[in-house]
């Protein structure tokens, strides 16, 4: 089942995080998986100079593309249309689902086979189709596993990363008719292949995401290893692609550097098994390929991010997941704890635009700001700067100049505001600061021994017996 978009209050996030932290099995799974992915990526970039040059180039391509986004989207639409692809625009998840449903109903579709698409997760595609009586079936092996388990993906590249092979073996034995329990990974893959092969052949519509859209040629690029993406975009007679409006680049030659950064950063592969470039539906004389190809371009808050120079950097993302793999928080709590389609550092900065800052601000605080995500981001998104910005926005006065996002000020409380106001007064006036610090040091015995979350795993904070200025005065001859 795909994720339903809903509000996740702070308590839910804390609860989910605590649940994973108290589950040694889950923590071991994530730690092992992240160590594996980090080592694979490191091996792909042995030359630091080459890596930095490629990151600079990738960042420049993405910045250039965003700077010209309206023009490139129009060029893409014109080129795709000339190629025979039908282009649709959606402002919201509901609009995107309505467009897909309209196509499905027109062609009397009963079954949709899906390739990997985080945007379809973002809009709750499966639920929308099921509500209309249309089966939407995941074909990426990881997505198939989580759908079979009634879960959501916990990672944008490896959706079932949280599951062990024993759990998957049990799942297959329990849920697939006639399958015996086996922990042999090759056997498990063969089982999945057999089930899904029939689904490809029977599906009326294939749905896919898009990694890059090329305006110059009107081409949709798909990166994958399994071949399920190719199956979805080739076998059914209708192909629907869905993507965010930010995925467009101007020229075909802009793709190779981004492709190199994506595959090496994501899974530590020099290249993926398949790189699929789709520029149109089946032409007269061709014997296969879909008769119709549709592209749905989704906004869903991206224009909000676009409007601000600093937040626009978020849209440079090429969805490699490297920031997750290197994040000390994600590695401990996993993707489900975040409660959003996109977990980890990138999820913390993109989700506020999709779901509102009021629903997602706890994620901006779920970071050590260590900068590991910034260091590995292939397109140099300043994730920690944006996290700090979102923290400030979350606590801004809702009607102030600092509140620019939907849901700004959601973390602001009367008590918190009063405390920080007093703090600001004290720290900006020398006399007050001296007086306050004198009282703090002399009254240290009155310090509470229970200091909330801090003392759950640390000793209480107690002011020093002497202030720094007193110590310095004592040292003077």
């Amino acid at each position: 089942m795909s994720q339903v978009i809903k509000i996740h209050p702070m308590e839910d996030f804390k609860e989910r995080s605590r649940g994973v932290l108290n589950d040694p099995g889950q923590r071991k799974n994530f730690r092992g998986a992240m160590d594996f992915l980090m080592a694979k990526r490191r091996a792909q970039f042995p030359d630091p100079e080459e890596l930095q040059g490629l990151r600079d180039l990738g960042s420049a391509i993405r910045r250039y593309s965003l700077a010209h986004l309206p023009r490139l989207l129009e060029q893409l639409e014109a080129k795709l249309t000339a190629n025979g692809v039908r282009v649709h625009w959606a402002q919201t998840p509901d609009e995107a689902n309505a467009i897909a449903l309209g196509i499905a109903q027109r062609v009397k579709a009963k079954r949709i086979i899906k390739g990997k698409s985080m945007v379809s997760e973002e809009v709750g595609f499966n639920h929308a189709m099921e509500a209309a009586g249309i089966e939407a079936f995941e074909s990426d092996m990881g997505e198939y596993i989580v759908q079979l388990a009634g879960e959501t993906p916990s990672h944008i590249i490896m959706p079932a990363i949280h599951k062990t092979k024993q759990e998957i073996a049990k799942l297959f034995a329990d849920e697939i008719a006639g399958v015996a329990y086996t922990e042999d990974v090759d056997a498990l893959i063969r089982i999945g292949r057999k089930v899904l092969r029939h689904k490809f052949a029977d599906a009326d519509i294939g749905l896919s995401g898009v990694n890059f859209c090329v305006a110059e040629t009107g081409t949709l690029c798909l990166v994958e290893n399994e071949g399920n993406g190719r199956m979805c975009t080739t076998v059914p007679r209708v192909h629907i692609a869905i993507t965010g409006i930010e995925k467009v680049v101007e020229k075909l030659e802009h793709v190779p550097p981004l492709y190199s950064l994506l595959s090496r950063s994501a899974t530590g592969q020099a290249v993926t098994t398949y790189f699929n470039l789709i520029s149109g539906p089946r032409q007269p004389g061709e014997k296969d390929g879909p008769e119709e190809v549709h592209l749905i371009l989704l906004d869903n808050g991206r224009t909000q991010a676009y409007a601000d120079e600093e937040l626009r950097e978020t849209l440079k993302c090429i969805r490699c997941g490297a920031c997750m793999n290197h994040c000390p928080v994600y590695a401990r709590i996993g993707g489900h704890a975040y409660g959003t389609t996109y977990p980890g550092p990138i999820g913390a900065i993109i989700s506020p635009h999709m779901l509102g800052l009021d629903a997602t601000y706890p994620l901006a605080f779920a970071s050590t700001l260590c900068g590991a995500c910034v260091e590995v981001c292939p397109v140099k998104i300043p994730i920690t700067d944006i996290l700090v910005r979102l923290r400030n926005e979350a606590q801004a006065r809702p009607d102030s100049m600092e509140a620019t996002l939907r849901g700004s000020g959601a973390a602001r409380t009367t008590a918190g505001t009063a405390v920080w106001s007093v703090w600001a007064q004290v720290y900006s006036r020398l006399g007050l600061y001296k007086l306050a610090s004198w009282f703090m040091s002399r009254g240290r015995a009155l310090s509470p021994t229970e200091q909330g979350a801090w003392t759950r795993s640390r000793t209480p904070l107690i002011p020093a017996p002497k202030r720094l200025r007193d110590l310095l005065k004592d040292r003077k001859p």
Binding site: A67, I168, S260
Partner: protein, 224 residues
């Protein structure tokens, strides 16, 4: 206002002061390109393909059919899907192999989808070219050799002329002028279908071919 117009209006409402130059991709690739001859490219391509479990066999313009039939026999293949109206397909048919049934992809898939999925053991396609740097074959499906030939059968044979191997992806795109004429579906393939979705354990044959066999066709008289 339509969704399209609303989205574009919101994007246009943002004035972006910076005037960024078009990223200079060519200079970057030129600076990082290896100065290799054909043999060196073949070596690099072979190593990259074999690293992802692709079989690579050196063949010549005259012996490639015998090599293919030998490999097919060793794998116990019963039949082979071939394109229509291609020189290599015609050459293979002229050989009239005894133990390998040749099945031309003659009709639109809609009429024989089940046969393709259930009864075809292998296929043969010609690569347009290849990329040494990333170990990828470039396929350009068309009416003669449709898209599914390289996807559905469990064993996929690819015939590749070594003279067509490019140094890197950028070179392939620019040298071949892709921007002026892409097919409805172009492909880069570097190995059999695979996944590591179960506990990061690599497994081949996830959905597409379980085996990829490359016949590296050297010009007559060239060292294989």
């Amino acid at each position: 206002m339509s969704a399209r117009d609303s989205i574009l209006a919101r994007l246009r409402a943002t004035s972006i002061a910076e005037t960024l130059p078009l990223p200079d991709v060519k200079t970057w690739f030129d600076a990082h390109r290896r100065n290799e001859d054909t043999d060196q490219r073949v070596t690099r391509l072979r190593a990259a393909l074999q690293a992802v479990k692709t079989e690579v066999h050196d063949v010549s313009a005259t012996d490639w059919i015998e090599a293919l039939l030998r490999i097919a026999a060793s794998k116990g293949l019963r039949n082979l899907l071939i394109g229509t109206g291609t020189a290599h397909g015609a050459a293979l048919q002229a050989r009239q192999p005894e133990h390998l049934k040749l099945l031309p992809y003659a009709d639109a898939i809609d009429s024989w989808r089940d046969v393709l999925f259930d009864d075809i053991d292998a296929s043969l396609t010609l690569a347009r070219s290849a990329i040494a740097e990333i170990g990828s074959l470039i396929l350009w499906p068309n009416a003669s050799e449709p898209r599914l030939m390289s996807l559905v059968p469990s064993v996929h044979f690819v015939l590749l002329d070594v003279a067509t191997i490019h140094s890197d992806f950028h070179s392939a795109i620019t040298t071949e002028g892709w921007k002026d004429g892409l097919p409805t579906n172009a492909l880069l393939i570097c190995g059999p279908s695979k996944t590591a979705d179960i506990q990061q354990t690599l497994a081949y044959g996830a959905h597409g071919p379980r085996e990829l066999v490359v016949l590296l066709r050297h010009a007559e008289g060239a060292a294989a």
